[in-house]
């Protein structure tokens, strides 16, 4: 209990009055000269106990009544932590600015309402109080510290807060706020969390937090107030994920973009328009109907003609939460692929990659059995290893670096390349040479690597005979695209760093069987090359707030630019650093495109999208559950709405109970009167009866 007028507590000394009256009035009892005490004495002894009990009861009631009146003057409050002006207070306001706070409604967005509540808290702070205003999404950013400055600056800073493109990590917000308060050194600390309490990045909400992590600030000396701004939503359709080709696309090919849509409403079906645009040109318009709570993966295919790093977007029709209605993507469309063919005796491979010596989609260079150098492969989009001999260790190292930096390789697993293939594969497969005929198993579907093939063409591959090909063991099934009928892999794909490699278990020679002479050899080889060419450069995706990172072979100080979505101006140059072969750029805070420039040409491009995997569901986390999971025992939950400011101050400073104290004092006073007059009334009744 606290008091709004603690100075009046001195009036508690008034309890001495009934004591004085009690004891002094005993001395002023009138003396009555009475004829004889003979008849009084026996009764008086028995009555003394009752008389004394009643006397002390009256004294207690009078003291209580006087004490309550004195308390009423002091204006007692309960449940609050503060006494205004009694002690400097540090208050940390954590305002959620995640994108769900931008939900539009007639009453304004939750963020706008949250700003109003924060303003009331700031305005209610005393002159000697310290107010720290921080915003929360995936992290906590302190934007104002009011110690020693006027509160009008805090209110001004508050007005500038806009929703971010990130979800909120509520647990982190509470922890950071508590740490900030603990560092402030103030004895009286208050932590406010103003949020819509949507499940964001706090995937652990509901599970207890280690007390060591929470630190001594929460639930200890820090009073925690959770202020939910709960906006009920009938439904929200979000574009929560996008799937783009993992390989570079050849100009003229059809590209398929997959999008995952979620209707977060559990009650109503939603019909939403979906459109796909590439480089500002709208290519597809479609209307989708999603049932209640339905999550749907939808593919959109369209041909691409122009080579280059193309920027695209999938967009839903606008709804109340516009932050999750659009996702960006980048596809890398290549016109010609620079291929380096390494090894000797690769006639059929040369013919397959450059039919008739003509330069089609592939610009072929052939390297002899001499050592592979960085300069040889630097300008290549893909390296093909089809003949012997085995690479030296130094060559393997150069090739591995090339792959990890985003290069592509097609490796034929055959005699004279067994050790090379085993060294390059991340799975360290066991490779044995066998001299027997084998055929392929019909996979039943078209593997992604061979996506231009038809189902029938893939099926007819099972009629091709293979002679004396190695048997490979140790490759995980998901990586295998096609198999021999003995279940050993025929073709598998691996990511090696930022690059890709395709392993084909056969000899690209007539001695290897019928494949070389079949009509499938050329498209298989070319498609394998297409699938690895470009590697990670096929167009990456990063999340807002995360640090974009690539393995880049070329360390000639590239420049990284970020172009926010919807802005035509040249991109903003980002800082970056290298960690080994990895380039790590500064995170960006909004959706857009990243462009990595090296030697005046774009070597990487990626899209930046918000993380809408969780918060777009608009799942409401009960503040009590959050408080429990954070181990906060005495969190006070103050509902937003009319009179919220008053309720906050009530929770902050407590609820004044002066009226109740006065009523209690009156009741006790009446009881005292009744006790005091009880005997007299009883006597009167006795007289009346007689």
């Amino acid at each position: 209990m606290n008091f709004l007028n603690p100075a009046f507590l001195i009036s508690l000394a008034a309890v001495a009055l009934p004591l004085i009256v009690h004891f002094f009035s005993r001395r002023r009892v009138p003396r009555v000269r009475f004829s004889s005490l003979a008849f009084l004495r026996p009764s008086q002894r028995r009555s003394m106990k009752r008389i004394n009990f009643r006397r002390w009861l009256l004294l207690a009631l009078r003291i209580a009544a006087v004490a309550l009146v004195a308390l009423a003057f002091s204006r007692p409050v309960i449940e609050g932590a503060l006494v205004p002006g009694s002690a400097p207070t540090a208050s940390c306001i954590i305002l959620d600015r995640s994108y769900s706070m931008g939900l539009e409604s007639e009453r304004g967005t939750p963020l706008e309402r949250g700003r109003g509540i924060a303003g009331e808290i700031i305005s209610g702070a005393g002159n000697s109080d310290r107010v720290i205003l921080s915003v929360l999404d995936t992290g906590v950013e302190e934007i104002f510290d009011m110690e020693g400055r006027g509160r009008e600056f805090a209110l001004e800073a508050l007005e500038g807060i806009e929703p971010s493109w990130k979800p909120a990590d509520l647990g982190k917000g509470l922890l950071e706020g508590a740490r900030t308060l603990r560092k402030s050194g103030y004895g009286v600390r208050q932590l406010y969390l103003i949020s819509d309490f949507r499940a964001g990045t706090d995937r652990n909400a509901g599970t207890p937090v280690d007390s060591a992590e929470a630190g001594p600030g929460i639930g200890g000396k820090t009073a925690t107030y959770l202020i939910p701004i709960h906006e009920s939503v009938s439904g929200n359709v979000a574009l929560i994920d996008i799937r783009r080709p993992g390989v570079a696309i050849h100009a003229g090919e059809v590209v398929t973009i997959g999008a995952t849509l979620l209707n977060s409403s559990g009650r109503a079906a939603e019909t939403v328009p979906v459109s796909i645009s590439v480089e500002g040109e709208r290519l597809i318009n479609r209307e989708l109907r999603l049932g209640p709570g339905e999550r749907r993966y939808q593919e959109f295919s369209f041909p691409v003609e122009e080579p280059g790093w193309l920027r695209g977007e999938i967009e839903l029709g606008d709804d109340r939460l516009r932050y999750d209605n659009r996702r960006l993507f980048v596809i890398h469309v290549i016109e010609k692929i620079d291929v380096l063919l390494v090894g000797e005796g690769q006639y059929y491979l040369e013919k397959a990659l450059s039919p008739g010596g003509a330069e089609g989609d592939i610009r072929l260079r052939v390297s002899g059995p001499e050592r592979v150098t960085s300069s040889d492969i630097r300008d290549s989009d893909a390296v093909v290893l089809g003949g012997g001999p085995e690479l030296w260790d130094e060559d393997l190292e150069v090739l591995r670096e090339y792959l990890e930096g985003g290069g592509g390789a097609v490796i034929f697993v055959r005699e004279n390349l067994v050790e090379t293939a085993a060294a390059l594969s991340r799975h360290s497969p066991a490779i044995e040479l066998e001299r027997r005929e084998r055929t392929l198993e019909d996979p039943g579907t078209v593997p992604e690597i061979l996506h231009p093939f038809t189902r029938e063409e893939i099926s007819s591959l099972s009629r091709v005979r293979f002679v004396a090909e190695p048997v490979v063991k140790g490759i995980p099934s998901p990586a295998v695209a096609m198999r021999y009928k003995d279940r050993s892999p025929f073709m598998w794909q691996e990511r090696i760093g930022e690059g890709r490699a395709v392993f084909i278990v056969c000899r690209p020679a007539v001695a290897g069987g019928g494949l070389v002479l079949s009509p499938y050899f050329l498209p298989i080889v070319q498609q394998a090359v297409f699938s690895v060419a470009g590697g990670g450069g096929a167009g990456g995706e990063f999340l807002v707030g995360k640090r974009p990172r690539w393995r880049i072979n070329d360390k000639n100080r590239p420049a990284i630019y970020f172009q926010p979505y919807g802005e035509e101006r040249p991109g903003v140059r980002l800082d970056y650093r290298f960690a080994g072969d990895e380039l790590i750029a500064a995170p960006v805070d909004r959706p857009g495109y990243l462009n990595v420039i090296s030697d005046n040409r774009t070597v990487r491009r990626a899209a930046v999208n918000p993380d809408c995997s969780l918060e777009s569901r608009l799942d409401y986390i009960q503040p009590e559950v959050l408080a429990d999971s954070m181990g906060i025992d005495r969190a006070k939950i103050i509902e937003e709405g009319e009179g919220a400011g008053e309720r906050i101050n009530e929770a902050r400073y407590g609820r004044e109970i002066t009226g109740w104290v006065i009523i209690a004092a009156l009741i006790i006073f009446i009881i005292e009167l009744m006790v005091a007059q009880g005997a007299a009334r009883r006597r009167s009744e006795d007289v009346g009866k007689s």
Binding site: V29, F34, S36, L40, R46, R50, A680, R683
Partner: protein, 301 residues
């Protein structure tokens, strides 16, 4: 006449009559008020009987000089007459400390004095010889029994100046009086009887044993009967100065029962002993006592 009678009866109220200063006047008004109320005279025939001579003292009235004797002896003698008496009546009034208690306009002693005066007045008007005895722990005054008016004035004078004495000694004092009254007669005891009840009864019986008729007026204040005090008080015993601090409303029930038991016992034992017992509150009008006396007197005739 009726109006006059009602006007006279108000003097039977002790609160009214106590405001008068002259005891003789008080006694006369009480008795006349009483007589007006009963509408018949209680007085008997009047006669004077020669008693003795005594020498004339210069300055005295010459009306009582016996001239015939002067003629024979040549000396002045005064004729002293003795009234004719029908009864010897002893009025015994307790003036102990407890009799000084009174919660209203008058004290028990004042009430007793007024009652004693009225009885004496009435008795002497009836030619009965009256003797007055006052006592507290001991005998303070004991007059001879006479029926002359001058004696009545003496009695009234004594009663007009009576004040409360010290402690109570009813048993010893009444015992002494019982020894001193030789001739049979009526003994009127006016007291609060604040003593051990057994002793009081035993002493009263001694009068009966000696052939006296006994009439007891037990005087109590209303407060002594019901302890009707409304607030906390400190009671001080008027005789012993002992004190008790208490809140009377806690005690009044049990106290009243005890007092009622005490008076009931006195009444029963007096009745058993042939003693007329009359409990009088200070609010009781005097006619109750006078009627009791007249009834007793009638029975004695």
């Amino acid at each position: 006449m009726e109006g006059r009678g009602q006007n006279s009866e108000k003097f039977l109220d002790p609160r009214v009559v106590s405001r008068l200063s002259n005891m003789a006047l008080r006694a006369r008004l009480i008795v006349e008020g009483f007589i007006a109320g009963i509408h018949r005279s209680p007085y008997h025939g009047f006669s004077a009987e020669f008693s003795e001579y005594r020498r004339y003292i210069t300055g005295e009235s010459t009306r009582q000089i016996d001239w015939k004797l002067f003629a024979r002896t040549d000396r002045y003698y005064i004729r002293i007459f003795e009234d004719e008496t029908n009864l010897r009546c002893s009025v015994i009034i307790d003036r102990s400390g407890s009799m000084g208690f009174g919660s209203g306009d008058i004290t028990k002693l004042e009430y007793a004095a007024l009652l004693g005066a009225a009885l004496s007045y009435l008795m002497i008007r009836q030619r009965d010889a009256v003797g007055l005895t006052l006592f507290d722990e001991k005998i303070n005054l004991m007059t001879p029994h006479r029926s002359v008016r001058s004696h009545m004035h003496q009695i009234l004078r004594e009663l007009g100046g009576v004040t409360p004495g010290a402690g109570t000694g009813i048993s010893s004092a009444l015992g002494y009086v019982a020894e001193r009254i030789k001739r049979r007669g009526l003994v009127v005891v006016i007291s609060d009887l604040m003593d051990e009840p057994g002793e009081v009864i035993r002493t009263l019986k001694r009068f009966r044993i000696r052939g006296h008729e006994v009439l007891v007026f037990h005087i109590l204040d209303p407060m002594e009967l019901n302890l009707d005090y409304g607030k906390e008080v400190q009671f001080v015993d008027m005789e012993t100065e002992e004190s008790i601090r208490t809140q009377p409303w806690f005690l009044e029930g049990e106290y009243s029962r005890r007092v009622a038991g005490w008076t009931r016992r006195l009444e029963i034992e007096c009745k058993d002993s042939g003693i007329d017992y009359n409990l009088l509150s200070l609010e009781s009008t005097f006619d109750q006592a006078l009627v009791a006396y007249l009834n007793k007197r009638k029975k004695m005739n």
